[in-house]
Assembly symmetry: C2
Homo-oligomer: 378 residues x 2
């Protein structure tokens, strides 16, 4: 997988291969559409208005975001259907910001506790348009309630004057390792179905059963059988929220969810030091790549040309300092000053370190896009 980098890059730089990105955007949209699943991609991955426009043009029904700040950025760019898939606590400045948002867009918000429901209801007074999805824990054990508890949270929402429209979950345990996605997708479908049942039993309509992650999105689509033929309407996911698929990363390759050639983003870094047998140092450290670790991956990233080669351990970023990446590479010995293409483990936190993307086709720069929602943490 040789990656064509443009010349004269100021490194470290985020570089997009636009052909690959466009293919990824189209493939997910087509796959989900063929199975009657709505696509509401998570914009926290790219934080980019340009990427989001391409997702919308390909058929996305709206966007998912993680924070009020991200929602504000995309709302200002004309995206009018946003789901903050997060158990928001609407206190202080966030309450006012949420009200303002809800005046301009169709806004859905996650809730996973009666306390948060009461706060959101208070915040939403004067902005009755806010819709709520109850978050369920499908096995990641991060946030979200169990299906039996969903009805209590929904009742608190109703009491607070909020309209409950459905349930959602993030099956993050799909990232536990190769082979985890199938079970996580099953957990997701089961929990969403049980949550829906609990809500219906308590007298709620359930319009949306939202799930998804890049590893599980296609499991959900294939488990539904022929397009449109729903064996059991209460047992399915009807909206998917994958994020990473637009770029892919080393984790997705390791999980078998994409091919090495489907990776649309690299960090371009310059070889700055210690070029010797088996190692060299690049100018991408913890402030460019992320020090996030995964049990099934050595180190913090790969050289693109070794990605998925079966000999990856021979070309990994073994250590990171803030501005140094120490690459162990027995097979490849670059020259000092050479610019190499690195595939990060997990692309989402990496993007958030940069202010812009260098957009390329065939190794030539065709555009530069801002990371519009970078750092919108609140």
């Amino acid at each position: 997988m040789p990656w064509k980098l443009p010349r004269d890059l100021d490194t470290p730089a985020l570089v997009i291969d636009l052909d690959v990105l466009e293919a990824n955007v189209a493939a997910m949209a087509t796959d989900l559409d063929q199975h009657g699943l709505a696509l509401r991609p998570h914009a926290k991955t790219h934080k980019s208005i340009e990427v989001a426009r391409r997702q919308r043009d390909a058929g996305a029904v709206g966007l998912t975001v993680a924070t009020v700040g991200e929602a504000e950025v995309f709302a200002a760019a004309g995206f009018d259907d946003l789901f903050i898939a997060y158990p928001l606590v609407a206190l202080g400045p966030k309450a006012k910001r949420l009200r303002t948002l809800a005046e301009h867009v169709r806004l859905r918000v996650g809730v996973d506790s009666p306390e948060a429901a009461a706060m959101l209801g208070h915040a939403a007074r004067g902005a009755p348009g806010i819709e709520v999805l109850i978050e369920l824990d499908s096995g990641q054990h991060r946030s979200g309630v169990t299906p039996p508890d969903a009805a209590e949270v929904a009742a608190a929402c109703r009491k607070a004057g909020l309209r409950v429209v459905g349930v959602f979950t993030f099956p993050g345990h799909a990232y536990a390792g190769p082979g985890s996605a199938a079970c996580a997708a099953e957990d997701e479908a089961r929990v969403l179905s049980e949550g829906e049942g609990a809500l219906r039993a308590a007298g709620f309509d359930v319009e949306v059963r939202s799930g998804g992650s890049t590893p599980t999105a296609r499991h959900a689509s294939t488990s539904r059988g022929p397009a449109g033929a729903l064996a059991d309407a209460t047992a399915v996911v009807d909206e998917q929220r994958p994020g990473v698929y637009v770029f892919n990363d080393r984790v997705q390759v390791a999980l078998g969810r994409c091919r090495p050639e489907d990776v649309a983003l690299v960090v371009a870094a310059t070889v700055v030091s210690a070029v010797g047998p088996g190692r060299f140092v690049v100018d991408a450290g913890t402030k460019a790549l992320s020090p996030e670790r995964f049990d099934y991956l050595e180190g913090f990233g790969s050289l693109t040309d070794r990605l998925g080669s079966g000999d990856e351990d021979g070309a990994t970023i073994a250590r990171l300092a803030e501005h140094h990446g120490i690459v162990e590479s027995p097979a490849y010995r670059p020259v000092l000053g050479e610019v190499v293409a690195l595939v990060p483990n997990h692309v989402c936190p990496v993007v958030d370190h940069f202010d812009s993307y260098v957009v390329t086709r065939n190794g030539r720069v065709v555009d530069r896009w801002p990371v519009d929602a970078r750092g919108r943490l609140t």
Copy 2:
């Protein structure tokens, strides 16, 4: 160590206790001054013009930075003596930016290979003011050469028309664990002395022997004996480049380099979910805190009031997702919506995630400072 947070914070937020910061700035300046050591603090920690001004007012001779972009930010703010303590490869856009910088400030740059020396010499044509320090590896095995190789690099610098003014090293192995700092400081002094010797033997003057890190800075000062009394002028460090000391962090407490009450910065986060026996979830994840791990620390951060309590494992951020921090806390059970103060493991990458600091005294907001050089990675 109760931390007074201001009300109505929009979280996650970087919060400075200005009293503590001022005390930290003063203490390091005083300690080094008493031992005749120059202080050139590393601005990569804070990336803040306001903090740098305070360091300068306390006696810093100049600033250390990690990138050309950081140097540009501080040069524009009037800091006229900057050391890019990094093995720069001055190719492409960086070459031009370096020349422009050197026209406006006294600029020192790190070099650790003959190849980089040639490139920097080429880039510096027309900007003869650029001074070079040869980087030595004192035990971290990241970048830098061994003392015997320093003369070859210095000769390449001279050949390239660059003025060599000294040697520098970063004794990063001081962070290996509690007790590592003393040995790392010894390594630093030895390697700088040997490097100086190699350069002098090759006919170079050595004006600067620059070392330092927060854990070793005071070792260097105390190992020099009485103020100004240098037993062996070739065996000492004469400039220190600590960075973290302005804020301190969980690592510094664990290494015994500061007290819990010397921590001047926390990440304020809201309890958003899953408040139950022994755990809760806050809105600070890998995009706010950093997923950087240290062998001698559990998890990714502490609640301030448990920091250094000897029972820290009971109140740590055990897992991080992008916007979720899962805190294991048997002893303390907050209410949903409560804002807690978290001490990150390593403060430097954390600061780089935020656009601004909330500056407080006694729990009241007194200012808001931008993280001026945030994201200046190139």
